[in-house]
């Protein structure tokens, strides 16, 4: 009898826990992983996009609308990374609490320092982001800022668990600090190394670890490589004896492969988000894997 009673109590607590969980939707998997680390069992988190697809051009599936409809909180990367796919489904979700400007909306780009903010913008320049480079999650310095913003937002929406969020965040930041110094140490010998990248997606990583960017395989952001431009990049690689070509997982690799073959530079396919490659299973593994692929 007592056992049954205990079991029922257990079920009830379980039910109340699941019921009181904050329903968080994020646009990209890296945000979901940080939310999971800060929110632990107090939140239920879903990422809309896949980590191995082009973050600029996600197909806005109606199933995302269903997820947004039930969300208490929507966290986006911002800086116009989602502009090509999120606005219509957010509008169609008929959920007033997660619209921009509302309490249940968090734009991470507003919390970090963006680099490469263009003085002028024109579509002549290709797919430029007027607010700056949106791929800021690839600087280890920005992750604690993001985690803090998330902890604040979770506490604001769910004050009863504020101390738990704060504690989880502190523990995560401590772990992060340890990992960051490991990555720093591993990357130290590569300081000053010149690299080429396909798309301007690894700029924050490059800047943080003191690498230097000598050019991109794309002639302009979002414009596929032309023969003329690839020939120019080839010259740059040979002239400056560039060692690495950094390539994301989703863009065509033929131009980078061609350059690697012609010049002897090493083509490194790097993950840009959690889930971009199998090894990058979470935010720590993402950086582990980038560092491993560059340094090995």
């Amino acid at each position: 009898m007592k056992k049954i009673f205990m079991f029922i109590t257990f079920l009830l607590t379980l039910a109340s826990i699941t019921y009181s969980q904050l329903n968080v939707v994020t646009t990209y998997p890296y945000i979901a992983d940080i939310v999971q680390r800060v929110g632990k069992e107090k939140v239920q988190v879903t990422a809309l996009a896949r980590g191995d697809y082009n973050p600029h051009v996600i197909v806005p599936k109606p199933s995302y609308i269903a997820k947004l409809r039930k969300a208490d909180l929507l966290i986006i990367n911002g800086a116009q990374l989602e502009i090509g796919w999120l606005p219509p489904i957010l509008k169609q979700a008929n959920n007033g609490t997660i619209q921009p400007g509302e309490k249940g909306f968090l734009d991470l780009a507003s919390r970090v320092h963006l680099i490469e903010v263009p003085k002028n913008v024109s579509r002549e320049m290709g797919d430029v982001h007027p607010e700056g480079n949106p791929h800021f999650c690839l600087s280890p310095d920005n992750i604690p800022v993001i985690a803090t913003a998330i902890a604040q937002k979770l506490s604001e929406l769910d004050p009863a668990n504020a101390s738990a969020y704060e504690a989880n965040k502190t523990a995560f930041l401590k772990l992060w600090e340890q990992k960051a110094s490991q990555w720093q140490k591993a990357m130290e010998p590569l300081k000053g190394t010149k690299v080429i990248e396909y798309h301007k997606i690894f700029d924050y990583f490059i800047q943080h670890f003191g690498l230097s960017l000598a050019g991109t395989v794309e002639p302009l952001p979002g414009i596929p490589p032309t023969t003329k431009h690839v020939a120019e990049v080839e010259q740059t690689i040979t002239r400056d004896r560039i060692r690495f070509i950094l390539q994301d997982v989703y863009n065509p690799k033929d131009a980078s492969q061609y350059l690697a073959q012609r010049t002897g530079a090493k083509l490194l396919v790097l993950p840009h988000d959690v889930g971009a490659v199998k090894e990058a299973a979470d935010i720590i593994a993402l950086f582990d894997e980038i560092v491993r692929r560059i340094t090995q």
Binding site: P60, I65, A66, N94, G96, T97, Q99
Partner: protein, 428 residues
Amino acid sequence: MKKIKSLLIVFISIITSAYGQDQTAEPQFQTSSPFNQAKFVPDISFITDFSFVSRDIDNELYSQLHIPGFMHHSENGEHEGFNSKKGFNLNYGELTLYSIVDPYFDLFAVLHVAQEHAGLEEVYFTTRKLPYGFQLKAGKFLSSFGRINEQHAHYLDFAERPLVLTSFFGDEGLNELGVRLTWIAPTDFYLMLGAEVLTGENEASFGKAGFADPSGIVNIHAIENPSLIVGYAKSSFDIREAAILIGASVAQGTTRRDENFSSSDGNGEALDASTTIFGADLTVKYTPDAIRILTFQSEYLYRTTNGHSYLRDTLAVTKSSFDQNQSGFYAQLVAKTGLRWRLGLRYDLLQLNDIKSGGVLGALPKNLPRYSAMLEYSPTEFSRFRLQLTHDKTKYFHTDDGILHNKPYTEILLQCTIGIGAHGAHSF
């Protein structure tokens, strides 16, 4: 004394720091007026579409073509639709304005600009934060009936709308003044229910004008209240990387047609009926990797019209029962094969074409097909070039002695769609 001194220091340091700030901090944006409202300018975009058409029949014959029972040809050469002339065509310019109005509403306006005239294609507001998953839309807008009706011309996968849609809703689609309420269910899968109350004036299916013969025997009054009701349910789920969207729609309204009936000379015809259109749609979008997208899309529409037709000749007015059952569908497959390339195939079919007047079934052609294939090259999302090949076997014309002839034709067109400004992303 010491206190006064320290207070003085603080005071001085505040003044100097304020002064210093004044010296160094230059405003980042110097505007010409303190009342400048540049930051509140709505998103403005302009999209234009032109084409080059090559066709194996001449323009005059083309303008006389129609589909018996489905589509009438234009009497005066107006409203001929896009790409109607051989050679160059300027199809449209589309000016779109969008902005958040205030915390409660969004406003959206689309101005359709043709060479000679301009009009408001759509203008509506939507609510931003109705509770429980509701959203209200009011104004003039393209109905969300089915799948393709609410899409703007520049977003279509082929140069023109599917045949069954232009046959049942006209070239401009089901686009009416009214209100729409949608509800998204709080379920794990996508479920949307929606209802619209619309004016009910559509060139191809719905009307509300009155008519009367000159002698006054028949006098059908105009309907002044909204007379068209549309409802739909749409649902979607994912199977791995394939998103499947299904929908069922219904539109019910009155139909009025007055072809010279109210006039005093010659013979005339009129129709007073009620029309229901049923629609079913299926879309499967498969994204096997980050670049390629394969989309299958199909819609089936069935139209039933029941009422009375009035025939007026020099002697009398004859009233007879009128019953019409028509159906059609399209199925298309579009593949995005690379960053800039898409190719697609579409099959259009007008199936049923049964029109009974006074219980007698008219001899109208049925099972009329049209085939289209297209290849698209988009340097960026703001420019697109499309080559389309169409073979149309649905069109008929009357010879001078009044005999109905089928006239299949083939058409090749190169279409160019270019857009500038801030244009919102498209939905699924």
